[in-house]
């Protein structure tokens, strides 16, 4: 059994160390509802929520933490040779078009369609898990985290559509 995401977050002092530690797990970590809640509680133990004058950097760090975990969880189902490309794409909306255009040249549009389906289904399963988290700020951070990945997959589909149309 690997170390939990909450334990990693508590142990690591910054987001880059956390990211490296999570990436080293190669997607093999518990990521069910209780694991998400434990990670959220570890985050809020370090960065308590405020009603007024919220610290935007701390909030953005929360979204980043959830995104690192969600991305590693969903790309583990992808072809190993293309995981790095999809990891980069899912963390940067501005990179979608150039990365997918390059991948289209090497792997073909058909492969992109299949990859998009796999990623979309994996993200939908993660969303179902997040939906089961009780309402509150832990859920808010995960919704914020997954929302951008959902947006990026929409951009991915737009790009595939454009490439398919020639």
């Amino acid at each position: 059994m690997s170390e939990s995401l909450a334990e990693i977050f508590t142990r690591e002092n910054d987001i880059e160390s956390f990211r490296k530690a999570v990436l080293s797990l190669d997607g093999e970590f518990p990521f069910d509802g209780p694991s998400m809640i434990a990670l959220g509680e570890a985050y809020f133990a370090r960065f308590p929520e405020k009603f007024r004058g919220r610290d935007m950097e701390e909030i953005r760090l929360g979204y980043a933490v959830t995104r690192i975990c969600i991305v590693e969880s969903i790309i583990k189902e992808m072809d190993r040779g293309r995981r790095a490309v999809y990891r980069e794409m899912l963390h940067d909306a501005g990179r979608v078009a150039p990365l997918i255009e390059a991948l289209s040249s090497s792997a073909g549009v058909g492969t992109l369609h299949e990859d998009c389906r796999i990623l979309s289904e994996a993200l939908a399963r993660t969303k179902e898990t997040i939906d089961e988290i009780p309402k509150g700020m832990v859920k808010e951070r995960f919704i914020g985290g997954i929302s951008n990945l959902h947006n990026i997959l929409y951009l991915f589909k737009m790009t595939i559509g454009r490439l398919s149309a020639g």
């Binding site: 935007m56 953005r60 995104r67 909306a93 501005g94 309402k135 929302s147 947006n151 951009l155």
Partner: protein, 130 residues
């Protein structure tokens, strides 16, 4: 920019701003972004957008309510849509129209639905482009 419907996106998450902007621009809109309620209001006054998409929780947990009130005071007919990550709570506890919004989109946003609504707003309520 000329002739395109201008959408201002206000969200404290730069990644969300960037991805929503890219989707809107890819669908023929001119999009601008702001990362806080304060900067959103400044851009609203400076750029006169046609439509505003706004997050609820930013520097304050109810920033979206304050922004809507301030924008309505400036332009009472501006189409305002809330991008909410607490949609269930919002729907149950807050009347969307009572806090100044024309509608709410729950995150993750269904962009097919959002683009349909924006298209309808642009065709129905905004001055015709050249």
């Amino acid at each position: 920019m000329s002739g395109k419907t201008k959408v201002l996106i206000i969200d404290d998450d730069p990644a969300i701003c960037e991805s929503v902007k890219a989707i809107l621009e890819g669908n023929g809109y001119a999009a601008d972004t702001a990362l806080s309620g304060k900067s959103g209001l400044e851009k609203f006054k400076a750029t006169a957008p046609d439509i505003v998409l706004c997050d609820m929780m930013m520097e304050d947990i109810d920033s979206g309510i304050k922004i809507a009130a301030a924008m309505r005071a400036e332009r009472k007919d501006i189409p305002l849509f809330l991008l909410s990550s607490i949609g269930d709570v919002t729907a149950e506890n807050i009347g969307i129209s009572q806090i100044g919004y024309n509608g709410v989109f729950q995150k993750p946003v269904d962009f097919d639905a959002l683009l349909t609504v924006l298209g309808t707003v642009a065709r129905t309520f905004l001055p015709k482009a050249d």
